[in-house]
Point group: C2
Amino acid sequence: MSRTEISSLGEFGLIDHLTRNFEIQNASTVVSVGDDAAVIDHFGKQTVVTTDLLLEGVHFDLMYTPLKHLGYKSVIVNLSDVYAMNAQPTQITMSIGISNRFSMEALDEFYEGVYAACEKYGVDLVGGDTASSQKGFVISVTAVGEVAPGAFVKRSTANSGDLVCVSGDLGGAFLGLTLLEREKKIYLENPKIQPDLEGEDYIVGRLLKPEARKDIIAFFEQNNLVPTSMMDISDGLSSEILHISRQSNLGCRLYEEKIPIDEKARQAAFKFGLDPTVCALNGGEDYELIFTIRQEDHEKILLNEEISVIGYMLDEEEGRKLITKGGNTFDITAQGWNAFVK
Amino acid sequence: MSRTEISSLGEFGLIDHLTRNFEIQNASTVVSVGDDAAVIDHFGKQTVVTTDLLLEGVHFDLMYTPLKHLGYKSVIVNLSDVYAMNAQPTQITMSIGISNRFSMEALDEFYEGVYAACEKYGVDLVGGDTASSQKGFVISVTAVGEVAPGAFVKRSTANSGDLVCVSGDLGGAFLGLTLLEREKKIYLENPKIQPDLEGEDYIVGRLLKPEARKDIIAFFEQNNLVPTSMMDISDGLSSEILHISRQSNLGCRLYEEKIPIDEKARQAAFKFGLDPTVCALNGGEDYELIFTIRQEDHEKILLNEEISVIGYMLDEEEGRKLITKGGNTFDITAQGWNAFVK
């Protein structure tokens, strides 16, 4: 495979190259790449802005993360935050810091993933920044979206008695990470042993190629349902339900048996000697949505198999607790993926 | 001085700590820090978005950059891009990646600078991300602004015959960098020698504590003046006039004697054996504005001492040239601060 040095293009040549085939999909994109800033017209709607910083060696490991998947995921994690506000993403900016160990071809792979995510979710890439880094790959994405005035959904507005719901299933991404880290360790000890990922596509895919729950937001709109609170699940179920509870000044009860865990994730957990529920509670990066709804809206979600009711909110003095399958009660504590605690 | 480890706060404690005293200044800030995303309502105006990535060792050197100044400058460089669209900045997001060599107190210093810039320019900090980095300080800032529909000014819309103008003076930041790099080298060779910055406040300040030209945008509005094209000067005058010329499909003439260079910068250039004009053309980081205006608007700018007319645009086949004080003509070439060319 040929290798083109990025330095042979220069910064502006690089930007031209990376953005050459990209077509604008949104009428709200007034000025895109190529000026001091992008201009966006949300035509009377409110603008939503969120940003994420991803660092090599901290948030991703290039030893087992294909660059195309990394580009895709970098976009997805930001879109997920926009959907979590009950909003529609419309634009992103993508900034990257790269060292000279990356070739133009490697960067093209990364952008293939970025563009695939943009296309799938109907989002325009409207700007960014490229910098040479001394060491490590740095990715900073900002996503912009729109929402009808006042229709956004915060974390702090749940009510006592509301039902707690989650989309999809949980714990899979953490199990994918556990598997890949195990295989990496084995490989480093003996490079002749080929990685054994047989039958583990699901959990590996959950980690490396997550999707954002655009479908759930569309479902809300079609069914005239407005959650009373919502956020996305990036740090694990425990951490997120505590955010909603604390910011809404409420308690909660979650039922272990109601937490949706895919059968393949469950099997992987048993193989690794892990408790699947703990993986769902404390593992991260599932990018599902957690939200609360009024009890009278319960029947609106019954037909959606992608939504599970896992508990309910109640007054703060009742505490925040998990009821296990065996009928025991435990306080929910945030373990989550806290970047600063080792 | 006491040292608080960042790990003792955790990520959410850290965010709470850093944002605890910050008050919202803009009615357009509907939802700020503490949710999945910020919500902004520009009330019928268009939204402007720009982003910059700053990496330690590439964009700044902590050996001679105080953290407070770095926080201030990180905001300014983004606001400058918003003003360069003829827009008003309203919000920023700030993401940082930090290693454990930084204490809470060091980070507080950085945020003092961030908040000082926000306060001075009337901008709200509405979100961001914090990550632990393995090595080096990573800063990613996104600025959001607003502009009346269609009132933004692009780079590509200059006309033949328009006057080329710049704000303030040029080359100072590059000379400040040259001085600080020289003193750093001397210090590293012999740590007993104290840095000699006597009388060099101006050029050092131009590098370490730049300002964005909010005043120029306000002047345009007060005087009913809309530039035909505009951008900010971050990579040097040569690079920027070439952007405007190429994107507008025009040629240009600049006059060396008209390029504004502060007397202190001129003196510093002579001291270092550098040509002050070359510093203005190829040095970067002045964060002044370059813009073009119709000839009939000339008298509107005459009374503003912060604006210099340095040349004019003409048809593309006339080329892009600098007329020296001696009357010679040179092609303008982009040297600029190209991060990928060594």
